[in-house]
Amino acid sequence: MRYVVAKDSREVVDLLMEDKANLLLAGGTDVLVRMRLDERYPDRIIDIKKIPGVAEITEESGGFRIGAAVSGAQMGEHSQLKALWPGVVEAVELIGSTQVQGRATMAGNLCNGSPAADSVPAMLAAQAVARVEGPEGVSDQPVLALLDAPGQTKLGKAEFITSIFLPARPNLAGDAYLRFIPRTEMDIAVASAGVSLVLDEAGIVIEASVALGAVAPTAVMVSGAAQALIGTRLEAAPLQACAAACAAACSPIDDKRGTIEFRTKVAGVMACRAAITAYQRAGGQP
């Protein structure tokens, strides 16, 4: 294995175009574990952390651009980012221990392709957009469009993510992320939900997005659940409809962490509770 520190994104794309087994290194909290457990090393590991801007959070058009090598700890310490997208930040901060937070990145969480990735439902609800560099140049792609299957994304050959953009939002807006795990810390979601809401002056939901994690081969957007919340103040009936839409969108697996039945039920519960938190963060009184 060779270790290469890339100076810019062009160099990364050029290296990825060569016929070699490459792995990209940002936080390394998945990549290094996998290399060690599989005892399989790529021809090259390409460290992207020294690319200008890639380890920074920058304000842009009222939103925030999160570089692909920004750690969870950096996101948690950024008070303006936390104020704008508290749900996304709380999702990222749930990943691993303090030590893992010192290195783990949101872009890496997406690229690792786990259906249970904590940041992904929160990013979907936030309508986050990934900036992708590749042989064709730079493109901006919704995170949703990059989800493919367990362990893989729809990134093409020699494409990689340099940053993720979280857009601006109106004053009366809030988001939240919740997951069920059998203990209080350091575990993988059995079912999870990210919800983002925008309210009008009267406290009525005018925009909503609901996304679920760990209940399908990828995180899923549930437009039926979002529709159920729009035009309401999260009264009992719309919340029930939201939970039912979530259950209908689930196609989970049975495993040691949870059964199909349990995951299907809990996904809706998480979505409703996350919706209530998002509603309160948006300034609403349910």
Binding site: Y3, G28, R36, I45, S71, S97, Q99, G102, E185
Partner: protein
């Protein structure tokens, strides 16, 4: 395979080493620099026994490549206190009997020091969450948490 030349700072000293690209920072500390305070428990970032800081940021040294610390400042447990001048965390861990086999202790001291650097007056819950990635199979954690809280008090200048 050619080795990588890395120049970095460890516990305030300028250090140079040669490492293989596959070697982790933990391998480098233990096998090349003879700093065996950081322990390898799991090697996959789960146990926290290899906790160190890089540029002040708490990380698991087993999840960092040695080559990555070029130009950084690494702090390990060897940089904390001295046999005749223990750090309050070390003294309180001894006084509270907060260790048995001792394998997790260096990681806990490094992690707790990083917590107190940014939060000198943590609640018990904050200490428990911060140290959730430092596994101890001997003590049941309670004495560790109490030792960290006592050290925090001592460092704030409060009487025990």
């Amino acid at each position: 395979m050619s080795k990588i030349h890395v120049s970095t700072q460890v516990n305030g000293d300028q250090v140079e080493f040669l490492c293989e690209p596959e070697e982790t920072l933990l391998d480098v500390l233990r096998d090349h620099l003879n700093l065996t305070g950081a322990k390898e428990g799991c090697g996959t970032g789960d146990c926290g026994a290899c906790s160190v800081t890089i540029d002040g940021r708490l990380v698991a040294a087993c999840l960092v490549l040695g080559a990555e610390v070029e130009g950084s400042a690494v702090e390990t447990v060897e940089g904390i206190g001295a046999p005749d001048a223990l750090h309050p965390l070390q003294r309180q861990i001894l006084q509270h009997a907060a260790l048995q086999c001792g394998i997790c202790t260096p990681g806990i001291i490094v992690a707790a020091k990083a917590l107190l650097a940014q939060n000198p007056d943590p609640s018990e819950q904050e200490v428990r969450y911060w140290l959730a990635g430092n596994l101890c199979r001997c003590t049941g954690y309670d004495k560790i948490i109490r030792a960290v809280l006592a050290a925090a008090g001592e460092m704030r200048g409060e009487n025990p």
